[in-house]
Amino acid sequence: MIRIEDLSVSFGDTEAVKHVSLDLADGEILGVVGESGSGKSVTALTLMGLVSDSARITSGRVLFDDVTLREAGKPCDKALYRTYQGAGMSMVFQEPMTSLNPTKRVGGQVEETLRLHTKMTPGERRECVLEAFRSVGLQNAEKVYASYPHQLSGGMRQRVMIAMAVILHPRLIVADEPTTALDVTIQNQIIGLLREINQKQNNAMLFITHDLNLARKLCSRIAVMKDGEVVESGETESIFEHPAEAYTKRLIEAVPSRMKRKGTIASGEGTKDKTPILKVKDLSVFYKDGNNSLFARKKRQCVVAGADFVLYEGESLGLVGESGCGKTSLSRAILGMNREVDGKIIHATKYPQMIFQDPYGSLNPSKTIGWLLMEPLRARAALDPSWSMTRGEMEEAACDMLRKVGMSDKFFHRKPSQLSGGQRQRVSIGQALITHPALIVADEPVSALDVTIQAQIMELMRKLQREMKLSYLFISHDINVVYQMCDRIMVMKDGRIIEIGETEEIFAHPKEEYTKLLLGNS
C-alpha cells in the first residue's frame, strides 16, 4: 500500500536520509528502529508530508496506493497531501503534552478532524468522538470530552491523541515514539491498544522507536536504521535471532535485558559484615508549595513517607518507581538539597555527589571541560585546606579524570556544546568523581541516552565502581537497567518504599503486586 522508494532527504549539506526503501501492506505493523539522528523521524515526516520546507528530496519517491505523493526534485504538493492527511493517514506524536492545544477542550480538538473531513452534524460528530474515546479505553468519555489537556494524565492524553489519529479509520497510522514519554506500566497499555486497533481496523502502522524491546513486542517486521540508511530489515524474530549486520547485533546486545546479567562487584558476598555508608531512618520528605509570595501561607506536602534503608560500602542499591513516586525527592533529601525533612539521614562520608539525567543540563555551558573538572577541586580546597593544590596539579588531576572516563586530553579546552550526549555524560561522571566521594547518587544516569551509549556508560560506571570503591544509589524507571547495575533493589510507589531485597530475589519472587506489574511490563 505504501511504498517508499530510494528516498533521500537533505537539509542543506547534510543528508538526513540516504536511499531508504520501505514498503508497508494493509494490516501490517512495520517497526523502524534506530538511535537518535538515524533519520527515522525525518523518513516518517517526509512520508506524512510534514517535513519542513528546508528539506530537499534528492532522490526517490513516496507512493500511496500507486499515487505519487512526493518525488525527488519537486516541491511538496500540499493540496494533494491534504486529501490524504487525516482520512488516509494520520500520526501519533511522542510528546502528548505539546501535541494537544492547551487552551481548548480535548473533545473539540478531536472533533475538528471530523469537521474538516466529513459532513456530519454536530450531534453526530460528538457521538463519533465519544465512541472513539471509548474504543481507546478512556473511561468516562463524557468527562474527558469536556476536559482540558492539563486535566488529563500523560497516558490519557496519549489515548486522546490515538483517538484523534484513528477516528477516521485511516489506512496508515504513523506512530513516532508514542510511548517514550510515558511510564512503563502505561507504555504497555498503549502498545496493547495500538495492537488492538491494528487488528480491529486492519490499518497499516509505521511504528518508530529507539526501543528494540517495544518493537519486538508489537511489530511483524523491523527495519533498522543507522546514519540515514536502512542497514537491515526483515521479520522481527529472524532479526532478533540472527542479526546479519554488526550494528544490529550491537544494538540488540546493548539493550539491557534480564537474560544476560553482567555480574557486579559485590555479588556473592552477604551484606551482614559490611560497613554501612548511608543509613536512612524513618525519613519523610516534604515539599513546600511553590507560591513564593510574601503573604501566601506555605503548605507542606509529603512526598516521601517513612523511608527506611541502609546502603553498604561498595554496593549498588537500585531505586525503581514511576515518575512522581518520590524517588527524586528522596535523593535530593539524601544529598541535603532539600531540608524539609523528618527522620534521620546518617552519612558515613562527607560530600556525596550526584550524576544527573540530562547530559545537556548538567554541565555549565559557559565553561570549558577543563574548568568544569577543576571546579570541584577549587570548591573543596575552599572548604578544606588540605585539598589545596597548585594549578598544575589540578590540571593533572582533571586530565587523569578525563582519561579515566574514557576521553582524551584534547577535550580539555572544549565547551560542552561541542560534545555529544554520551561524551557529556562522561564529563558529568568525571565531575562527580574527581573529589573521590564514596557515595554517588545517580538519578536516571542513562535514561536520556541512546541504547548503545547507555551500555557504554553503564559499563563505565561499573568499571569506576571497581576502581574507586564507590557506592551507588541508582535511580531509574527502567527495571532492566537496574537489574544490570544493582546488587539490591528498592521499589517505590506513591512515596513509600514497598519492597526491598536482593536483585535476584526480587526478580524471581516479587512479593508485592506492584512489583510484579513493573516486572511483567518490561
Binding site: F11, T14, M337, Y351, S362, E375, A379, L383
Partner: protein, 271 residues
Amino acid sequence: MKTQKKRKWNKYLTAGLFMTGFALLLGIVGIFWTPYSTTAMSAAEKFDAPSLRHLFGTDNFGRDIFSRVMEGMGTTVVISSLVVLFSGTFGILLGALTGYFGGLLDEIVMRVTDAVNGFPSILLTLVIISILGSGRQNVILSLGIVFIPSYIRIVRSEFIRLRDADYIMRARLMGAGRMRILFVHILPNIFSVFWVSVMIGFNNAILAESGMSYLGIGVQPPDASLGKMLSDAQGYLQTAPWYALAPGLAIVWVVLGFALFGEGIRRQKVD
C-alpha cells in the same frame, strides 16, 4: 536542525560596530581636539550654511557646529556610558541576589522597583535633579537610579531561570560558596541576554540625556551636549535648518548604531 548558514558574517554586528565606532571616535577625539574652538564666537560668521570651511555650518553665535557636535557627542557618550555602568552594576547585584535567594529581600526590592517604574522617568529625574541640583554628576546619578529597575528585572528573571539548573545544583553539591555560584557559575550564562539590554539601555540613556538637556536640566552651558544644541536650534529651524539637523542626525546615528550592535550580538548568540 542544521541550516546552511554556518556562522555567516553578521551584517548587523558589522554595521553596528562601524556606526558606533565612528561615533565613539568622533566623541573621544572631540574631548581633546576640535577643528575650531567650541566657544569661539564670530559675529561675521553667524548662520553660515554648511561648507568646506564649516562642515555643518555655524550657529547663532557663529560657532562651528561640527566642533560642537563632536564635543556634544563626547559629553553624551561619556554620560550615557557612566549611566549604564552605574545602573548595570546595581542591576546585576540586586537582580542576582533577589533572583537567587528570593524571599523577603526579593519582595522589598521588587516593590520598590515597581514604585520607581510607576513614575514617568523624566518626572523622576526632574525630582532628583531639583533635590541635588543640576550638573554632570547629578545627571548621571539621577538617570542611573531611574534605569536600575529595568536591569534588575532582566537579571532577576534569568537568575530565577538558572538557579534550579542541574549544573547549579551540582555546584552546590560540590560545596561552592554562594557568591561563587552567583557570580562565577550563573553570571556568565546571562551575559548574552544582559548585553542586549545594556545596548538598549545605552540608547535610552542617550535619548534621556538629550531630553534632559533639551529641557534645560541637563548639562549646563557652556558645555555642549547634543540635546542642548537641539533645544538651542529650535528657534532657528526656519532660517538655519542645519543647526538642528546636525545634532539630531548625530543622535539618530549613535542610537541606530547601538541598536544594530545589540541586535548583532543577539543574533550571534542565537546562531
